[in-house]
């Protein structure tokens, strides 16, 4: 149902920025080269045939054993034309970074902070990249597949056998 979005994007970007497109379970998706992330997103927002004005979600998938390790996933929606698309950008483990989408959608600010906090993916140009869900003293990025689920880093504990 959003195939026209993919067609439009494929027509516009012909220099290899678009690595792959597809459709699964009714969701249309496109894989984008890392350095073309902001250009493709801006095009989708501004082009009158796609008009994806609404920012829905930005997250990261840790593929762990396949390259590139981190996939930054962006979901967009068009309120006027009622179609959706999902964009992927792969970031390798040695340099997990992608350009920020804050200039395109202001709401990407907190979502990117969360992706940085939980996965360690840096967003170049982000105005305020710091932890949002974990506390600043926390070390590590907990949603990565190699962070054990029950490894706590407590800030305060009572002494054992104390009344107080």
């Amino acid at each position: 149902m959003s195939q026209n979005v993919l067609d439009r994007v494929k027509g516009q970007f012909t220099a290899g920025e678009l690595l792959e497109t597809g459709s699964q379970h009714g969701d249309e998706w496109a894989r984008v080269r890392r350095d073309a992330w902001v250009t493709v997103a801006t095009f989708l927002r501004d082009d009158p045939a796609t008009k994806m004005e609404m920012f829905i979600d930005l997250t990261v998938v840790d593929r762990f054993s396949s390259e590139p390790r981190f996939d930054v996933v962006l979901h967009l929606y068009s309120v006027s034309l009622k179609h959706r698309v999902r964009l992927y950008a792969g970031a390798p483990e040695e340099d997990p970074s992608v350009d920020t989408l804050c200039p395109v959608w202001a709401g990407a600010n907190w979502f990117e902070r969360e992706a940085y906090d939980l996965y360690g993916v840096r967003f170049k140009g982000h105005p305020d990249l710091r932890r949002i869900l974990m506390y600043p003293e926390f070390v590590g990025h907990p949603l990565r597949k190699d962070y054990p689920k029950e490894k706590r880093q407590p800030l305060v504990r009572r002494q054992p056998n104390s009344v107080d």
Binding site: V139, V156, R158
Partner: protein, 190 residues
């Protein structure tokens, strides 16, 4: 009849007054807060027990009700609020997340609020039914009447009633360094 009889009766009277006029500080974090609201609502009226009006400042409250999950991030704030309360003070851990962490066993959830503060009554349940909360309140009131809350015991020790050195039962709280070694007991503990 010695002086003990009259001070005993006075202590009973004071405890009676305390148990029926608990000023609660609801430290609400999560889903149990909805059941706390239901307990305070007209159907399961907590006002019948005298514990109606929540005091939203720990300096004016004597019952700290920890409602909902406590995360590691919340720990220092919780400790500070407990320290700000005046003695005698009591703590109820409302819900299984506040008691033991519930079914959240992960890097961010504290396995029970008794990791940072001493608790008098634990209420299991996810969330507990309002009747369970009222039952817990009655249990707490019985403990208060007998003078067996943690804080009341400590006060008795400090005023010399028991032959135990205070430092043995009241060490300070340790602020652990965060980082990779989280979860280990601090050096020199025990």
């Amino acid at each position: 009849m010695g002086l003990d009889f009259y001070t005993g009766k006075l202590a009973d009277a004071v405890n009676w007054a305390r148990k029926f006029s608990l000023f609660s500080y609801p430290f609400v974090t999560a889903c149990c807060g909805m059941e706390y609201m239901s307990v305070a609502a007209p159907k399961y009226d907590i006002a019948r027990f005298g514990a109606e009006f929540p005091r939203f400042s720990p300096r004016q409250a004597d019952l700290l009700i920890i409602v909902g999950t406590i995360t590691e991030r919340q720990g220092p704030a919780l400790r500070r609020i407990y320290d700000q309360m005046c003695e005698p003070k009591w703590v109820i851990a409302f819900g299984v997340c506040a008691s033991t962490g519930g079914f959240y066993q992960n890097y961010s959830t504290m396995p029970g609020c008794d990791q940072v503060i001493p608790v008098d009554v634990y209420i299991p349940g996810c969330p507990p039914r309002p009747e369970q909360v009222l039952d817990a309140l009655i249990l707490l009131q019985e403990r208060i009447q007998r003078g067996e809350g943690h804080s009341q015991v400590q006060l008795k020790v400090e005023s010399g009633h028991y032959d135990v050195p205070t430092t043995a039962i009241r060490p300070r709280t340790a602020h652990l360094p965060g980082g990779e070694s989280g979860g280990k007991a601090p050096e020199g503990a025990g």
